[in-house]
């Protein structure tokens, strides 16, 4: 079993490196697109630039701390992005139901782009996690505790959507830093080997 897992790790080291780079590139692209989306939304809703929206996380995942290793950081980011994706889908649905109409504008296009890019990033982080774990499938993070009830008042709904976009932006930036900080293939191999040994010793 150990031999099989080692073999999987060796064959999977190269793909993990490319997947990591690709995921970092996607995250970087998503970060750029998300910043544009935020600007478009603020412009659309005529929010003054210096407005301060009461903070409070919508994503129920703690930020990755420095004590965590790369894999756990990535897991943390992957979980947060998954919640962001769920929240974003919910926000889009509510917007379409309550506030849509007229011609499609740049905002709607950018919103869809961010959502699709976020899906792609999730796929890549999932692949990266699988590669790092050496498993065929990665566990889907739990979304329990995620507050999906959207406000009924339209202004509150708008603020909620804005906060979701900010969450996406925040976690995308976090993903960029985590993915770019991923160790090199050699280090990763060593790290993963250590992880396997620790698992053996535990067993």
């Amino acid at each position: 079993m150990a031999t099989r897992r080692t073999t999987r790790r060796l064959t999977g080291s190269e793909p993990s490196r490319t997947t990591g780079a690709r995921a970092a590139a996607i995250a970087e692209q998503l970060r750029h697109e998300c910043s544009i989306l935020l600007e478009l939304y603020k412009k659309k809703e005529s929010f003054t630039p210096d407005i301060l929206v009461a903070d409070g996380r919508l994503v129920s995942v703690p930020p990755p701390s420095s004590q965590l290793d790369a894999r756990d950081k990535l897991w943390c980011v992957h979980s947060a992005l998954l919640q962001c994706h769920i929240l974003m889908e919910r926000a889009i649905a509510k917007e379409e139901a309550e506030l849509s109409g007229g011609k499609r504008a740049d905002y709607e296009t950018q919103r869809k782009m961010v959502k699709d890019r976020l899906s792609l990033l999730l796929i890549n982080t999932g692949e990266l996690l699988r590669a790092m774990d050496g498993t065929a499938a990665v566990q889907t993070p739990s979304v329990d505790g995620l507050e999906l009830n959207s406000p009924t008042a339209l202004f509150e709904l708008k603020v909620w959507v804005y906060r979701i976009f900010r969450e996406v932006d925040y976690w995308t930036r976090t993903a960029v830093s985590v993915l770019q900080a991923l160790p090199s293939a050699t280090t990763k191999e060593r790290m993963m080997t250590t992880r396997v040994r620790s698992v053996r010793s535990t067993r």
Binding site: E45, F47, I51, L52, E98, S100, F155, K158
Partner: protein, 998 residues
């Protein structure tokens, strides 16, 4: 007491609602006023019942309070509404309200400008009868959402929809323990108003339509933190138009309408439509469509949104509202020139309906419409099609009777017509100068070929010889070679060339051209100019009766001479003009146009033209050469090739340039000029530029430098000519002098007459005392002891200078002169002599310029005039005495004897008194032989010496003579008449010399 009682009741009512609030001064004042009014009407108050059972029903969305009470029989009431916290009166009005007969209650609806949630409102009612009023009812408070128990921030109204142009008041209830900052409408902050402890309001006036997401209004605290907000939607009520219902299947109904004015309300706030009470989505398009299951005949459309609704109605019979659906299942039976198009109907009911159908035929992008009618129409024959081409048809139909409208267009149905034989090709012939050439024909368009051309069949035959030669040409070739020399042996004067095109549909009719065996040289006919204008070359000619089948106008590029890619058009008989238009015309290219007649005879060249689509400057300059011819410069150049001319050459401009600037030297307007002679330039190097110009301007020009050198032959010729002229002049002069030598001699070398002694020589008394001096200085000495009876000339030799010195002491003699022979001519002209020199010294000095001898003759009367002067008062006989004496002296002097010629009988004292250095001198004496004044002249003129006629003048003598008078001859044979002209000549010459004297 009264004040307290009323005041207490009011205060109690308020305190029950808002015990924590304190009375303000304004509220107290209000209470006092109210109490005063109550007190002043005590009697009436007692009569009017106080309203009881006051109740409030709030419609928050409508911001409306429905206030009801039991007021008994009273119909007039005072109603007051105050903001409870600040006791601000919002409403105070006397109203008339009748009691509801069923409930016995009075009711009044009051709409608030601001949302009812913003703050609490206190309501009181009292009865009124004229000026009499009852007591105020108990205060009823409608509680707002700014109570201290509700600590969160709030904004009202929430998500309100208002009509465009309306005014809206929005309030913000500040969160407890936070301070109000500002309120924004969109990104614009608005002035707010405090209406309660925590509530601020803004009023948005004349609102404009909002977007799909509405307009945000939000409230910030003093830290610019968002507290709460709301969304306001501003739009219009629905206003649909053009509601109409029709049938497609002759059974059901389809109703349509336009949305009309945009409501600016979307989604949940958008417009809903209902037809006869049934909701219709209508789709997302501007034109809404709603199908109904059956034909009702009457329809009502209700459009409704948050701001209102609008109704439209329609009614009609079914047969008047038939709009057929589009036909389906198309098919076609095609031919070369027509096709039968067939289709089916979705509804069987159509097959019994009289239909009018429109068929839109599209071919090569061109659309045409044709209309067909018939009951249950389902096929039409479309004619006038093009063979082997793609066509497509669309069909739509309408009811022929009670036509309502055209139905929907069907989908386009494409089909392709069949192939058939081609049209006859358009054939022409090009013959070169050497009787070779080519038979050419135009490539066929698809409309002409009627299918893919497989080959061309070319036949040459002679009608007289009945011989023919055929060949097959590939479909991508459009020319066949012709060599008329091959038919030279034929008896006829022509051959017939024909072309047949073949495709899958068959062979085309032949197209022929009659070629004369003796082809006319094109250059035999002069070409005129063809002017391009408005995209064409308009050509015109005189109609030719022989052109029974019209004309052919061909054209080609002028630079081409052999097997040119010729183009042509055929002109109908009787025409006398043609407009040549081609996309191939290029600017700067000369085109040659030729007009041929077409008849039963071979083609005949009638007329020629040349023209440019657009003239350009020549593309290349002339080849310029320059050389010197004599003193001129000759610029010569070659003609520009035709292809480089790019326009009709109008002439040449000759420039001379001096480095930086060019100066136009000549404008040669003769296009055929090939040289230009530059004249009048001095030696040097010159640079000339010759630019050819057309109507488009000058080309860049060709430049040549040439150095103009001195023309040596011409110089020599000039010198020789000058010398020749001089020689000729000299010859003429010599000839004249030879011919007139006597005159010349007399004029310039007149004979000096020898002295003649006509009188008695013995009259002269006294010796001639001559002292020959080496320098032959003649001193005029005035001898003291001289007396008139012994007057004589005394010559003082130079050797006797010592004596002379002694004598000089007594005589006014110029001592600078070493030797001088002086005369004391006693026979002097008594006329006053024009003084030449200021004094004697000057005269002496002048005489000393002579190298050897300076003889000063003063007063020697040699001229004829002087000789004839009758100055002597003693009479004519005496007047000639001196000459006679001189002649005698001369004769006697030869022997060196004494000489006394000047001795006169007149008193010498007076003459001597006139004597001066400028006085006339006597003839000089000989060195050895005494005084022989004429002997030296004879010596100077030996040739004349022998002549007895006269004496030689003193000219040419080595002796310098300064004399104001010439000694002119007084020949014996001269006579008076001969002497006269000599006198004038000598006078002229004398004057000449005198004037030359310094």
């Amino acid at each position: 007491m009264c004040r307290r009682g009323h005041g207490q009741s009011v205060a109690m009512a308020r305190s029950s609602v808002n015990p924590g609030s304190k009375f303000s001064s304004s509220f107290a004042l209000h209470i006092c006023v109210l109490a005063g009014l109550l007190a002043s009407h005590t009697l009436a108050t007692d009569a009017l019942p106080v309203p009881q059972q006051l109740s409030i029903l709030a419609d928050l969305a409508a911001q409306q309070l429905s206030i009801s009470w039991v007021g008994g029989a009273a119909t007039t009431f005072d109603l007051t509404i105050l903001r409870t916290e600040l006791d601000e009166t919002v409403f105070f009005e006397t109203i008339s309200v009748a009691s509801n007969p069923t409930s016995g209650r009075q009711q009044w609806n009051w709409t608030s400008a601001e949302p009812l949630e913003c703050t609490s409102l206190s309501v009181q009612v009292r009865s009124r009868d004229g000026q009499s009023t009852s007591k105020w009812s108990d205060t009823l408070i409608h509680q707002g959402n700014d109570l201290p128990t509700n600590t969160k921030a709030q904004v009202y109204p929430q998500d309100k929809v208002v009509p465009v142009g309306d005014n809206t008041t929005i309030c913000c209830v500040v969160k407890e323990k936070r301070r109000f900052g500002s309120m924004f409408l969109g990104n614009t902050t608005l002035a707010s108003k405090l209406i309660s402890r925590r509530t601020y309001t803004i009023t948005v006036v004349n609102q404009r339509p909002s977007g799909p997401a509405g307009t945000n209004v939000y409230c910030l605290d003093d830290q610019k933190t968002l507290m709460d907000g709301t969304v306001v939607f501003v739009g219009y009520p629905p206003l649909p138009t053009d509601f109409v219902c029709e049938t497609r299947d002759l059974t059901t109904t389809v109703c349509q309408w336009n949305v009309g004015r945009e409501s600016y309300l979307y989604g949940k706030r958008g417009t809903n439509y209902f037809i006869n009470g049934r909701r219709c989505a209508g789709g997302k398009l501007e034109r809404k469509v709603c199908p109904l299951d059956e034909w009702g005949g009457n329809w009502t459309l209700v459009a409704r949104n948050s701001l209102g609704q609008h109704e439209l109605s329609d009614a009609s019979e079914l047969s008047h509202r038939v709009c057929p659906v589009a036909p389906v299942q198309f098919s076609a039976v095609t031919h070369a020139w027509n096709a039968t198009v067939l289709w089916q109907w979705e509804h069987d009911s159509y097959y019994s309906l009289s239909l009018a159908c429109q068929v839109e035929l599209t071919c090569m992008g061109v659309k045409t419409k044709r209309t067909f009618t018939g009951v249950g129409l389902r096929s039409v024959v479309v004619s006038n099609l093009y063979p082997d081409e793609d066509h497509s048809v669309k069909v739509r139909c309408g009811a022929q009777r009670n036509f309502w409208k055209w139905g929907d267009w069907s989908e386009a149905f494409p089909f392709r017509t069949n192939v058939t034989f081609p049209d006859a090709p358009d054939v022409w012939v090009w013959i070169n100068g050497d009787n070779t050439g080519q038979l050419v024909w135009k490539p066929m368009t698809h409309r002409q070929s009627h299918g893919q051309i497989r080959a061309y069949k070319v036949t040459f035959w002679s009608p007289e010889e009945n011989e023919q030669h055929s060949e097959v040409i590939l479909p991508n070739s459009f020319a066949a070679p012709v060599n008329l020399s091959h038919f030279a042996t034929f008896s006829g004067d022509r051959i017939v060339a024909s072309v047949i095109a073949e495709n899958m549909g068959g062979a085309s009719p032949p197209s022929s051209v009659l070629i004369p065996l003796n082809w006319t040289d094109k250059e035999s006919i002069a070409a005129s100019r063809a002017v391009y204008a408005d995209g064409i070359f308009p050509l015109s000619w005189q109609s030719n009766e022989n052109a029974t089948c019209g004309y052919v106008v061909e054209w080609h590029q002028g630079s081409c001479t052999v097997n040119c890619p010729v183009k042509w058009i055929k002109v109908a008989p009787g025409s006398s003009n043609a407009s040549i238009e081609s996309a191939d015309f290029l600017p700067g290219v000369r085109y040659h146009f030729s007009l041929y007649s077409c008849s039963s005879e071979p083609v005949q060249l009638l007329q020629r033209w040349q023209g440019y689509m657009k003239e350009l400057v020549p593309s290349s300059p002339v080849t310029l050469a320059a050389h010197q011819e004599g003193s001129d410069l000759v610029l010569s150049w070659d003609g520009i090739p035709l292809v480089s001319r790019r326009g009709f050459i109008l002439g040449y401009s000759v420039y001379i340039s001096d480095g930086s600037t060019s100066t136009l030297l000549a404008n040669i307007t003769d296009p055929e000029a090939r040289a230009y002679r530059v004249k009048g330039y001095s030696t040097g190097t010159y640079k000339f530029t010759v630019k050819t110009y057309t109507s488009a301007g000058e080309d860049t020009g060709a430049t040549a430098s040439v150095t103009l050198e001195r023309y040596a032959d011409w110089l020599i010729l000039e010198i020789l000519t000058s010398l020749g002229i001089i020689a000729l002049f000299m010859v003429i002069l010599a000839f004249i002098c030879c011919k007139k030598r006597n005159w010349v001699k007399k004029a310039f070398y007149p004979d000096i007459p020898e002295p003649k002694l006509t009188g008695v020589w013995s009259r002269t008394q006294g010796p001639l005392d001559v002292k020959p001096s080496p320098n032959s200085v003649v001193h005029i000495v005035e001898k003291p002891e001289w007396d008139s009876s012994k007057e004589m000339l005394v010559v003082i030799p130079e050797e006797d200078e010592g004596d002379e010195g002694q004598m000089i002491g007594d005589e006014p003699v110029d001592t600078d002169e070493p030797t001088s022979i002086r005369y004391y001519n006693q026979v002097v002209d008594e006329r006053p002599i024009r003084p030449r020199f200021p004094d004697s010294s000057a005269s002496s000095a002048s005489s000393l310029d002579s190298a050897r001898t300076d003889v000063t003759y003063t007063g020697i009367q040699t001229s004829a005039s002087s000789l004839v002067w009758p100055a002597d008062p003693q009479g004519p006989g005496e007047s000639h005495q001196p000459l006679a004496d001189l002649a005698a002296a001369a004769a006697a002097g030869g022997g060196g004897g004494g000489y006394k010629p000047q001795m006169q009988t007149t008193a010498q004292t007076q003459d001597l008194g006139l004597a001066s250095p400028e006085s006339p001198s006597e003839p000089q004496a000989d060195f050895s032989g005494g005084y022989k004044p004429q002997s030296s002249w004879h010596f100077d003129s030996p040739t004349e010496a022998g002549e007895g006629s006269g004496l030689m003048p003193s000219l040419g003598s080595p002796t310098s003579v300064a004399s104001t008078q010439f000694l002119l001859p007084d020949g014996e044979d001269g006579g008076e008449e001969r002497r006269q002209p000599s006198s004038s000549a000598s006078t002229w010459f004398t004057n000449l010399l005198s004037s030359s004297k310094p």
